[in-house]
């Protein structure tokens, strides 16, 4: 085979360079286009997630306010102990207000409903103590709702009021949709 002339050598070199550049542009371009497409997809996903998260900033503020109002963090409540803890807290609040407690009956909830247990409580004391106790029930740090309250005058002790309360301890894990009790 005859040796290539300088001109032919140069042509071959240019041709090889041209092919390499073409391949680099072709495959490199496709690779770059794919990377860009992936990036745009990721950016769109980030945007969607961002939009999803944005309203929660307000929700977090509301949750914080409600937790402050109720002195309660639902995440820290344990289903196993919440009834006993809530019962103890109710009795503590009653004593702190100057209410003399009578019989207390606890009955667990059976099956359906949002209640974990019901506590029936009797007590007596001066009107201010009763009202203070009622007012403090939603700040004891447990999810309790007064289902019914009955006030009767204590004829044997003037100035005293007998109180009969039915308190529901709510199941914070089951409660999903809020619905006012007599809405």
């Amino acid at each position: 085979m005859r040796p290539l002339t300088d001109r032919e050598n140069r042509i071959v070199r240019f041709a090889v360079a041209g092919v390499v550049i073409y391949l680099a542009l072709f495959y490199g371009g496709r690779l770059l286009a794919k990377k860009r497409s992936d990036y745009r997809q990721l950016a769109a996903e980030a945007q969607t997630l961002r939009r999803q998260i944005q309203p929660f900033q307000d929700k977090v503020l509301v949750v914080k306010k409600l937790m402050d109002d109720f002195h309660m963090d639902p995440a820290k409540l344990k289903k196993e102990t919440v009834v006993s803890d809530a019962s103890a807290a109710i009795q503590q609040a009653a004593k702190a207000g100057g209410l003399q407690l009578g019989p207390i009956r606890e009955s667990p909830s059976h099956g359906s409903g949002n209640a974990l247990a019901t506590v029936q409580l009797e007590g007596s004391g001066p009107v201010p103590a009763v009202l203070t106790f009622l007012a403090s029930l939603n700040r004891i740090g447990f999810p309790v709702v007064v289902d019914s309250a009955q006030f009767t005058s204590d004829k044997s002790r003037p100035g005293q009021v007998k109180l009969n309360l039915t308190i529901i301890i709510l199941d914070f894990e089951q409660t999903k949709s809020p619905e006012a009790p007599h809405a």
Binding site: P74, V146, S153, H182
Partner: protein, 530 residues
């Protein structure tokens, strides 16, 4: 506005003599030998070597604008004329000036690099037109064009003036008429000044090497060359290695009342300390073209360069600039555009524009992926937040308004009413058993409960007089409105009531708006404020 230093390169000062080109930029100086053709133009090899050497000296950055090169050219080939033109509009003046130049100089204006300086204005007198006196300097265009081309190729923007004018700028307080002698190595330059402007300038073929050892004959040779023009004038002498003794000897040799004074060149310390890169020790034309470059040696700055520096320090330009083209600045600058450079810049910008989205994808994808992962982790937490919010809202809406109900009762009940039993439940059902003084009180109480807007209905289920007919026992039932409607009601003590009660409620005290009841009475009535 103050210029940003690194964006604007310092000016370059150049003196172009017959045999050498001296350049100074900041504290760096260079002296390059020149080789000329018989017509005074530079030889082609000299131009090439000069371009290379100056480029190496300047180290121009491609992104910087062109440095201004203020060049002083020698008197060789320069013609000076004083002209007087009638005043007129700018266009008229320009036309007249061109005609005058064509008449006064041997070459047409198109073949000249020329400039003018206004000397004064003659006011109209006795019906004569006002006139303008001008000094016009001109030189063959090709000579200056060569310098211009070389300096442009080195990335500078050159302007040209006369070396004599630059040197004159060094004279502290020159008299009206004086002369300046610049002594070079092989030839000297004598310029006569009338009323502060150059009247004539010529080359004297007398070199100033070994001036201290100059023989009387040599000095006489110089004296004969210049003596005729200097009677009674002051002669400023510039040049390298000029001593006071030489000045005194020359004054004595002239002997025509001429006062000789040596001009101090190294007025600025920076200039005195400037270093020189001897890019070529031998003339460019010699065989030792590849002489050592970049070698530093002592550099004594020339008077012309010092004068040019002084112009810049004074914030101005030389009064007479020699222009190749008498066109507007904008047109000139557009014509002088470096298309290759600008093309490269535009190409780079377009390439950046095309590649930027891809670069963004490559560079920012990891960062974005991290962000998305963080968002996804947050989304899991959102469910918890949602659940907690639902629960807390449910808890809040489930709280029956017992205290509000009691407050309404306390506001509505007449004094002396005895409550036997009161029951409330979470369904909003209220039942009440109590004793009033008479039926009217019962009716009033009922009306007030209805007016409070808190109840949908109030029913007096039973109303029975006591056996002693002193009281009326009553059983009342009522139904509270739904929670949503109750929330809209402003139940509770008003601001006035709170203010009247004074201090906020203490622990164990009655809620605001409810006063302490009488023993056995639930709760105590308040005085009606309606």
């Amino acid at each position: 506005m103050k210029k940003i230093a690194f964006l604007h390169p310092p000016p370059l000062y150049v003196e172009i003599g017959q045999g050498s080109l001296k350049a100074l930029q900041e504290n760096d100086g260079v002296e390059l030998p020149l080789e000329r053709l018989p017509d005074g133009r530079l030889t082609a090899p000299c131009r090439e070597k000069l371009t290379v050497a100056l480029k190496r000296f300047l180290k121009t950055k491609s992104w910087q604008p062109r440095a201004r090169a203020v060049c002083a050219i020698g008197a060789r080939g320069v013609s000076l004329r004083r002209l007087s033109l009638p005043a007129g509009t700018k266009e008229e003046f320009q036309q007249r000036l061109l005609l005058q130049i064509e008449g006064e100089f041997p070459l047409p204006p198109d073949e000249l690099a020329w400039g003018w300086q206004q000397l004064g204005e003659t006011k109209p007198l006795n019906g004569m037109m006002a006139r303008q006196d001008l000094l016009v300097a001109a030189v063959k265009k090709e000579v200056v064009a060569d310098y211009h081309e070389i300096l442009r190729a080195c990335g500078t923007d050159p302007v040209f003036t006369l070396a004599a004018l630059a040197r004159r700028n060094l004279c502290p307080q020159p008299p009206d008429s004086f002369a300046m002698l610049d002594i070079g190595n092989s030839q000297s330059e004598l310029t006569l000044f009338e009323k502060g402007v150059p009247a004539s300038s010529r080359i004297i073929f007398w070199g100033g090497e070994n001036l201290s050892d100059a023989t009387k004959d040599k000095l006489d040779e110089l004296t004969q060359s210049i003596n005729g023009n200097l009677a009674g004038r002051k002669l400023f002498i510039t040049g390298q290695k000029i001593s006071e003794a030489f000045t005194a000897r020359l004054a004595s040799a002239l002997g025509n009342g001429c006062q000789c004074e040596r001009l101090e060149v190294a007025a600025g310390g920076a200039v005195a300390q400037a270093s020189r890169r001897c890019l070529s020790e031998a003339p460019v034309s010699s065989q030792s073209g590849n002489s050592p470059a970049g070698r530093l040696c002592h550099y004594e700055c020339s008077a012309a360069i010092s004068g040019l520096q002084k112009f810049t320090e004074q914030g101005g330009e030389p009064p007479l600039l020699l222009r190749l083209e008498q066109t507007s600045g904008a047109a000139a600058s557009f014509a002088d555009l470096d298309w290759k450079k600008w093309g490269t810049r535009i190409g780079s910008l377009v390439a950046a524009l095309v590649l930027l989205p891809y670069a963004e994808a490559l560079l920012l994808k990891p960062h974005l992926a991290k962000k998305v992962a963080a968002f996804k982790a947050e989304v899991v937490r959102l469910k918890v937040i949602d659940r907690e919010l639902d629960f807390l809202r449910y808890l809040k809406s489930s709280q029956p308004p017992y205290l509000d109900t009691l407050y309404i009762f306390s506001k509505s009940v007449p004094p002396g009413t005895k409550f036997d039993a009161l029951s409330l439940n979470s369904h909003g059902e209220v039942s009440l058993r109590c004793a009033f003084h008479d039926g009217q009180q019962v009716a009033d109480f009922r009306t007030k409960l209805i007016d409070s807007g808190f109840f949908t209905n109030v029913t007096v289920e039973e109303q029975v007089p006591t056996p002693d007919h002193q009281r009326v026992s009553v059983r009342i039932s009522a139904q509270e409105k739904p929670t949503a409607q109750l929330l809209a009601l402003a139940v509770g003590p008003t601001a006035d009531e709170i203010a009247r009660d004074g201090k906020p409620a203490q622990p164990g005290a009655m809620p605001p708006g409810i006063s302490r009841p009488a023993p056995g009475v639930l709760p105590a009535p308040r005085k009606e404020t309606k």
